[in-house]
Symmetry: C2
Subunit: 215 residues, 2 copies
């Protein structure tokens, strides 16, 4: 069985795919345009399954590497095909019309919304929403392994995610229950505004959010 399925082959799908291969996990790539999935598979190299969205996800871990609205559509359309899977929401539901808030109400999160749409038996976790694609592809910034915050209500799912993240040479941080996605999404929105601020010359969608401890 394939270990990880990534749906979506944009920058984040490609970056997470790079880390999955660094972790020596088997990978399936799906995209609405199967040709894009095959192109990314060829670019990443190795024995990667590639196909169109709609094809059965073979991974135990299914990463929705698409924007929030597309992620909602995916869990709805896949339905029970995601039962038994760990479904990873990476989205940042920013209201880009104002760039001043999230597009989800403050008493919920993209992750909880997606969990509410997912079929019974699918376990939604939040992860990789605070790692920018450029940084994730490299895996470190300024000599520090990236931190990957994982929020979820299943300890088993979070353990599986921690194993994947660790194998990918990143540092997993258990951020608590799925509702902590609210704080993860909120802060990443703030970090996105910093990247977009021309006054902050060092921040160009290539920074890393890091919790440093005394060495």
């Amino acid at each position: 069985m394939t270990d990880v399925t990534i749906i979506g082959t944009g920058n984040m799908g490609a970056a997470i795919g790079t880390r999955v291969l660094a972790a020596a996990r088997r990978l399936q790539l799906l995209d609405r345009e199967a040709e894009r999935a095959r192109e990314l598979a060829a670019r990443l190299g190795g024995d990667i399954l590639a196909g169109p969205v709609g094809q059965e996800p073979e991974g135990d871990i299914v990463v929705l590497a698409v924007p929030f609205d597309a992620a909602k559509d995916l869990v709805a359309s896949y339905g029970r095909a995601l039962s038994g899977k760990i479904v990873v929401d990476i989205s940042n539901p920013v209201d880009f019309s104002t760039f001043d808030s999230l597009a989800v109400p403050p008493d919920t999160s993209a992750a909880e919304t997606i969990a509410g749409l997912a079929a019974e038996g699918a376990t939604v976790v939040k992860a990789f929403n605070t790692t920018f694609a450029a940084t994730l592809a490299v895996g470190e910034v300024a000599g520090q392994r990236l931190d990957v915050f994982v929020a979820g209500d299943s300890e088993e799912a979070k353990t599986a995610m921690a194993e994947l993240v660790t194998a990918a040479e990143l540092r997993p941080i258990d951020a608590g229950p799925l509702r902590r996605a609210r704080e993860l999404e909120g802060f990443q929105f703030l970090l996105m505004t910093l990247q977009a601020n021309p006054a902050l010359e060092d921040f160009n969608w290539n920074t890393a959010l890091k919790i440093l401890a005394p060495s």
Copy 2:
């Protein structure tokens, strides 16, 4: 004139005081118990004014180094004595009865609440809420200068804060308007839960939240 007044002489007041002195700024310390202010002044050393809460704040920058509820009381009781000042809210309004959310509604923040109570002409900024006292006293973690996120609606006030923070050998980050305090307070709440989690052995109220850029 004194440059900075710190009201409150607990761990955060002491740590910010240490940084203010590192910045070679003049300092006034006020505490409900004037004796505590004098004790901290003696401990920090140097030519520091010390007195009771209620005494006129002499600093252009007035740091409310107290919990959220006490900060609200201070701006109300000081009233117009804070006009013309930069008033720094450092609080994290965590609901400690549940340790599961903030105690302010999600469509506002401690900083905005305090700004709403402050007299006309007082300029409230959010700063230092993501720096733990132990870390702040040292000024760096793992060889990295601390990041100090500053949110506020006055560019002039944020510039003054950036100058102070830089002189204190920390890195200021302009986090945007005062309402970005919502995201700063939310994420610090999450970081606090990590420090309190015994499974995360490296996190003991001594970490630093850092935005790393490629070197």
